[in-house]
Symmetry: C2
Amino acid sequence: METSTPSYSPTERTQVKRRSQRGVYDKAQVHAILDEGFICHVGFVLDGQPYVIPTAYARLDEQIYIHGSPASRLMKGKEVDVCLTVTLVDGLVLARSAFHTSINYRSVVVLGQARVVTDPEEKERALVAMVDRFFPDRTAGLRQSTAQEIKATSVIAMEIEQASAKIRAKGVADDEEDYDLPVYAERIPVRTVLGAPEPCPRLRDGVERPASLRGYAEGRLLEEALREAYFLRYPGG
Amino acid sequence: METSTPSYSPTERTQVKRRSQRGVYDKAQVHAILDEGFICHVGFVLDGQPYVIPTAYARLDEQIYIHGSPASRLMKGKEVDVCLTVTLVDGLVLARSAFHTSINYRSVVVLGQARVVTDPEEKERALVAMVDRFFPDRTAGLRQSTAQEIKATSVIAMEIEQASAKIRAKGVADDEEDYDLPVYAERIPVRTVLGAPEPCPRLRDGVERPASLRGYAEGRLLEEALREAYFLRYPGG
């Protein structure tokens, strides 16, 4: 009987070395951070020079999809090593010493081979996910993509071959003797929230905001809206 | 007479290729994004594999400092090529087609050589900046760092040798003929804000929140607080 939680095996490359007590390899936790995130930073190497490009992404099972253009410098039909990192910031931690001044965050580092998606069905599934993962069922109501748009949009996939998450989620953690010092210390939560939606000024008369966007309400946490949208559209996770 | 704005020269490596109208090389704009940001993603190469690690940073003039530990895999006294990227997300843009669905953001990509800071004065200046850039004058009131802490903390510097910013800051931008479609479209602002500060439960009696933290008030934009703190501490920019 399988009783352990599915997890990614730490490898020499993904093992969290610094503050290793913050390392997490559990698949559910890695997926949760990926699905509550929105922008990833993709690293790739070109002529020995590393590049780090921010872009939106969508996870479907163990595949992560991004638009190919950010990597257009390097993909020429071949697979390349990439590192894809997602970071959610949760707070600032002001300790009584510089050494313990810290940040609360959740991050995931994924290593894998990136490939250009050539199969038309997979490409369509990925392009739909890149919209519907944020806004469930939105693709179906949009002006259909033209053949030229689809051709102009390259999609890159990477399988989650190796992954690790790193999480700090606590208050001030000072050296025991420092708690007696007359130094002020606190945690400041940081939250990424949605503002009031601004309808396009050129909406056609009678076009209303669809119910499927209800989750994107003013003041709501972005990560909550993203998580909810993801599970509405992809209930299996 | 010098009349042009100081800017970074676009090079083959930093020229913004995709949607090049979004590219910005002006130093003041690059600095502004760096100073309103908080977490960077640092890319480096080890045995051909790219790694992307999130970490806090501080800019002093044309140097960016980070704690060395995230790069501990690779620095061995030598300089290495790195790419440091900062991304601020400002909104989601729901267009009438998948193709024009977009994100409002400001990002900076910096290329340069990373070096371990060995000069004690530069190291101290960097360690102070790593706290005071967020919380002006805080270092002076903290328990002083021990020699062992300073030894255990490596600091990495990179000069901004090449940099480019990329900005999208507008509403829905559909193909002209699509505005007539009965499809809902909107922009949703995204903001990173501060929560209510949570004082450490183990504060010594009588220790009050210092006035220098006033900028970190509940509901305030993180980037505003960061920018204000930076200019309080480093008025010259």
